[in-house]
Subunit: 157 residues, 2 copies
């Protein structure tokens, strides 16, 4: 844990250093607020046998564990590379306030990590997805939603 | 763990039942292959204080832990509600082969969980994002990528 406030360039250099030391893909990330590191991490997909362990997710989860909340409002995500949709989604749900990135998609593609296919996938209508999607048991699923909506103890977020 | 092969409707009903029993939002998911459940889960964001614990992520991580790999090729993700970009991204990286969903976005929005803003965010160019993004230390970040690309022990995936 850092006790002295660090500036943004120091944070990004830390993310780049984490990428260099990664046991997985060359990606590192730091979540910080007011010059203090809340969480950090490197890509751990292959060694962790977990496709969700991108550096940004590792850093966001570490920050949430430290802060005891799923809400990281006011924090910045420093990442050595522009986030994929999974990580951008995680930052969104964590209420991260801004993102700083080092490499862009073009640089990632140049070393063999091409996110463009997944960004294209997000833009396709459901019926044209490469990962096929179909709807099932819509009435039963909707009944479940209605039951939840009628619960007095529900906790929206 | 299931030992008898279950059909797709049984899998989806299991996802809907997990949603009903969730301690967080009303979302459940099951990852299955050849009629066998590999992993399952419910939304755990609020109780777990972790914004990444959507039902689909919980189920994918459980399946990967069980299988000992980040690669779930051939598996289907059954989810009680159409996935958000974070979860669709996780399914993509896990190489999930198909997705079956119960409720659509419209039903989720009707009970207060509106994912449309985040889907719109994905479609915006970087400079127009609501979650502001800026590039920093591009040259240093690129040097890190080049160093990784030159490593003989690198493991692309």
């Amino acid at each position: 844990m850092q006790c002295l406030a660090m500036d943004d360039e120091t944070m990004m250099r830390r993310a780049i250093a984490l990428a260099a030391g990664s046991a997985g893909g060359p990606f590192g990330a730091v979540v910080a607020r007011d010059g203090v590191v809340l969480g950090e991490g490197a890509n751990h997909v292959v060694p962790g046998r977990d496709p969700t362990l991108h550096a940004e997710i590792v850093a966001i989860r570490a920050a949430c564990a430290r802060e005891g909340t799923h809400d990281l409002s006011g924090a910045t995500l420093f990442t050595s590379c522009e986030p994929c949709p999974m990580c951008l989604g995680a930052a969104w749900w964590a209420r991260i306030s801004s993102i700083a990135y080092g490499n862009g998609h073009a640089e990632a593609a140049a070393i063999g990590f091409d996110d463009s296919a997944i960004y294209e996938e997000m833009r396709r209508p459901l019926e044209a997805r490469r990962l096929p999607m179909r709807r099932m048991l819509a009435a039963e699923a909707w009944r479940g939603f209605q039951d939840w909506a009628a619960r007095p103890d529900k906790e929206p977020y």
